[in-house]
Amino acid sequence: MKDHSDEGFDSLFEKKKSSGAKLFAILFFGIIIVSTSVYTYLSVGVVRDRMLVAKSQVEGAAPVDPSLIDLMKEKAWVESRLKMAAGDSVGLSIDLEQHTIQLELKGVVVMNSKIRDFSTSGFFKRMDGNVYFAIFGSPLTIQKFESSIEKNPFKVVIAPKNEAEAEAAVTKKDSIPDENVFWTVKLDRDFELNIQGIDSVAESQSKYKLGKGFEFKRNLKNIVNSFEHIVKFKKPTYTPEILISIPENEAKAILRALPRNASVTIRI
């Protein structure tokens, strides 16, 4: 019995010419499926590698008593904030347990915001006590900023030639643009912190609504990188992430206040 679906597919192509297209389709999909499958397999393996590397870095450390882990986390948190207070610039402290994000300056909390929603990569959910303290036991340092809005906007104005020109240039208030605040920082110890400004909890569920063009660019970069990895037979990378949703004005204030290589203290 002849397969009708095959017949339908074949009928798309004219006899001789079509066999080329058919072959192309089979080859193209074959390559895509095989390479994507291999890439997926490696991508999954890389998470395991990442965890193993993290564990090997704390090898030999005495096991952490599970009944004391919360107290030890508390101690690490306060200790870390004290270390951050020794610096002269603004630092960020994030307490996912208490759902708070704070800006601190010399140990003084200058801004406190309630976290509306957050999610963390599986890596953080599965790390043991020693890996936790190796990562969060002391302040982290921001290595790279990317944001959907300008971090420190600065305007350049040429001085007016005379009084008349100065009057003509009377402060023209810029209209407040409809900004979607989304920013991401790469921290040392190789993970990412993503902050998104939201006006409601429901909004935090639709990540792609936020950051609009910025999110699109990030995704595009991700796709291009993955493609490059496949073409060059490079191993995929894995960067654990923490995504935090806070009110938009506060997300903006924190972005503007943090120095380029600010310290960050986190408690999970």
Binding site: S18, V110, G122
Partner: protein, 219 residues
């Protein structure tokens, strides 16, 4: 033509498949609980015996006390330059809050392009260096350049203005101040040359609460 569209369709479907794998399937698989079985076992044993609950609790309260000490017991002010808000505290207690105006983040370049003035409110911790009632504003050069006026010599009477800074000023060093304003409609906006402007009543409260040496936290 038809063949071209077929090739195009094949390409598009392939790209869509790859994109959905990279953006959704792979991250989901990476995060899946099935990916990491046996990698991260919970801790076993009771630790190395050197830490116990009592000593940990003692350490934490010591550290916490050290951290708490960093917050001034006297009055201090926090300025949020992004939202143009101020918060006046005494210890951990908020005494007053309100709107202010801070630096406009602007670079003024003189017409001849040989001089540059940067208008922003510097972030960090400052201290009140001095307090003064009924201050007179000694207009710096940029005030004339900005208005398209010729720069008068130092000490020229046209450089001094009364009332512009309001009833009080608190100096923070490097020419920065907390003072009042005659441009009340701009309060809450980033319009100043770096100083912090407050409304009259807020300024009076801040002036009375802060002493020379009080901390000013700007972020």
């Amino acid at each position: 033509m038809r063949t071209f569209f077929i090739y195009l369709a094949i390409l598009v479907v392939g790209i869509l498949f790859f994109t959905s794998m990279v953006l959704f399937a792979i991250p989901a698989l990476q995060e899946s609980t099935l990916v990491l079985p046996g990698i991260a076992q919970g801790e076993s044993g009771s630790g190395d015996g050197t830490v116990n609950q009592a000593s940990l609790e003692k350490d934490i309260s010591k550290l916490q006390a050290k951290l708490d000490k960093l917050t001034p017991a006297d009055a201090y002010i926090i300025i949020n330059t992004s939202e143009n808000h101020f918060y006046l505290y005494k210890g951990k207690q908020l005494i007053r809050k309100g709107l202010c105006s801070t630096g406009k983040n602007e670079r003024l370049v003189s017409e001849e392009r040989n001089k540059e003035y940067v208008f922003y409110t510097p972030q960090g911790v400052k201290t009140v260096k001095g307090k003064q009632k009924n201050p007179v504003w000694a207009k710096p050069n940029w005030a004339f350049i900005e208005e398209g006026l010729p720069i008068p010599p130092p000490g020229d009477p046209s450089r001094f203005e009364s009332g512009t800074l309001g009833a009080y000023k608190l100096t923070l060093g490097d020419g920065y101040m907390i003072h009042g304003t005659i441009y009340k409609r701009f309060i809450g906006q980033s319009v100043t040359h770096g100083c912090v402007r407050l409304l009259d009543e807020d300024l009076e409260a801040v002036y009375n609460a802060l002493q020379v040496g009080s901390k000013v936290y700007i972020y």
